[in-house]
């Protein structure tokens, strides 16, 4: 199928009008779409909809108890954004580990989420931060939006719960509880331009020797980025001594479901999950 229409609308309602037929490819930064379409892994649909010129998709703003990040914000913009840096250090950290300057300048957070790679670097902190996605459509002349928890949005590698006529407008992050701190860890084979072999986000509120309000997520260890609920339960409120840390890390190793691929074997990924979880928690216990 060759592309028959190209649009670059400047308002959200116009963008949603073009999406109504559904046979449309959405273009954001193009950093996934260009290589995927050139390699033939993705076929562009009949319409190509460039949403980069819709100003409201580029904003980061406060919204009752949350921060709303426009889908078209680039990784560079997020890294520098004062609201993101103040409240969501985990996300800013992940952005700092992303690819290279040229890629960070073009890649958008909405593209990272909709591309739904199990190794997508912002997805792991976003899951740990209880993100929700905001999807908009215009089924019968009126703009409708729905919110979906990010944990329910990913349905498989490269697959999401987005309907063909929906646009991802924003990602909503509830403000974390006071005192919340987090760590992001990405393991690849070289520092720049590497797809994660695994990535980890761990956050919580320090309470004596333990962590409460614990959130744990892993990337590249399952068909979708994984919120590790069993690991969270093992970690919640447990005094961080060596035995507890080993127990939590072992739970994590059991909970992840990695595959063998060119970047690492499943066995190696499980060992990485165990060792890195243990190391991060060890650091937290020392801090």
């Amino acid at each position: 199928m060759t592309v028959e229409h190209y649009w670059a609308p400047t308002t959200l309602p116009d963008a949603l009008d073009h999406l109504r037929g559904g046979d449309v490819t959405i273009l954001a930064g193009g950093t996934d779409l260009m290589p995927q379409s050139h390699a033939g892994r993705v076929t562009l649909k009949r319409g190509l909809l460039n949403v980069r010129r819709v100003p409201e998709l580029h904003r980061v703003e406060r919204a009752e108890g949350a921060v709303r990040i426009g889908a078209l914000c680039t990784i560079t913009e997020l890294m520098r954004d004062p609201l993101v840096r103040e409240h969501f250090g985990l996300l800013a950290d992940a952005c700092d580990h992303f690819a290279s300057d040229q890629l960070r300048n073009a890649a958008t957070i909405g593209g990272n989420v909709c591309n739904a790679s199990p190794a997508g670097d912002t997805l792991v902190p976003l899951l740990a931060l209880d993100a929700e996605v905001e999807l908009a459509s215009k089924p019968d002349g009126r703009v409708e939006t729905r919110r979906v928890p990010l944990a329910d949005f990913f349905t498989g590698p490269g697959r999401t719960a987005r309907a063909p006529d929906e646009l991802l407008c924003a990602i909503r992050l509830p403000l974390p509880p006071p005192g919340f701190v987090g760590r992001f860890f990405k393991f690849g084979t070289r520092p720049a331009l590497d797809i994660s072999a695994i990535s980890i986000a761990i956050g919580g509120v320090r309470s004596g020797r333990a962590l409460t309000h614990v959130r744990v997520a892993y990337g590249a260890v399952a068909p979708v980025p994984l919120r590790a609920r069993r690991t969270e339960a093992a970690l919640e409120g447990a005094p961080l001594d060596a035995a507890a840390i080993d127990r939590v890390a072992a739970t994590a190793r059991d909970e992840v479901r990695p595959i063998d691929d060119v970047r690492a074997s499943a066995w190696y990924r499980k060992e990485l999950v165990f060792n890195m979880t243990r190391r991060i928690l060890g650091d937290v216990a020392q801090a």
Partner: protein
């Protein structure tokens, strides 16, 4: 046959029009449609930085950018770099420091260095290395490239 679009943008300060297939990359437009071959094609997948250009003053890999998305924007390539003081300084520093061997990575390096120095006028060597982490050079071993960028930043004071 892919759908084509005529677009207009400011290329190295000159109003430019081009007719491009909507799925073409900005790199292919620059090289094959407009005949500006200073911007290099190497990996074609964002891994090497040889195709780096500035769009609205920000560095991107032109092999990943859709050409149609240049509509109404400002694009700077290596061909126009010496017209600006910082670009001219970088070019000279690359020559003076021997930072060019085969020269294939050089246009991308210079464009990325220009974007980097605009944001970090007085960088450390480590910051320079971080700044060009998306650019690969198969010849120099990077030391002379970092030297050149450092020299250009000193010349700036």
């Amino acid at each position: 046959m892919s759908l084509k679009r005529e677009i207009g943008f400011l290329l190295n300060g000159v109003e430019t029009r081009a007719t491009v297939p909507v799925d073409m990359s900005a790199l292919a437009m620059l090289r094959d449609v407009l005949g500006l071959t200073g911007t290099k094609y190497a990996c074609g997948e964002g891994e090497c930085g040889a195709c780096t250009v500035l769009v609205d003053g920000v560095s991107v890999c032109s092999c990943l950018q859709f050409a149609v998305d240049c509509e109404g924007r400002t694009v700077s390539t290596i061909e126009g770099v010496s017209r600006e003081p910082l670009g001219a300084k970088l070019e000279q520093a690359f020559v003076d420091c021997g930072a060019v061997q085969c020269g294939f990575c050089t246009p991308g390096m210079v464009m990325q260095a220009k974007h980097f120095l605009e944001a970090h006028p007085h960088p450390t060597r480590d910051e320079i290395k971080r700044g060009i982490e998306g650019n690969l050079c198969r010849c120099t071993g990077y030391v002379k490239i970092v030297d050149a960028i450092e020299a250009a930043s000193r010349g700036d004071r």
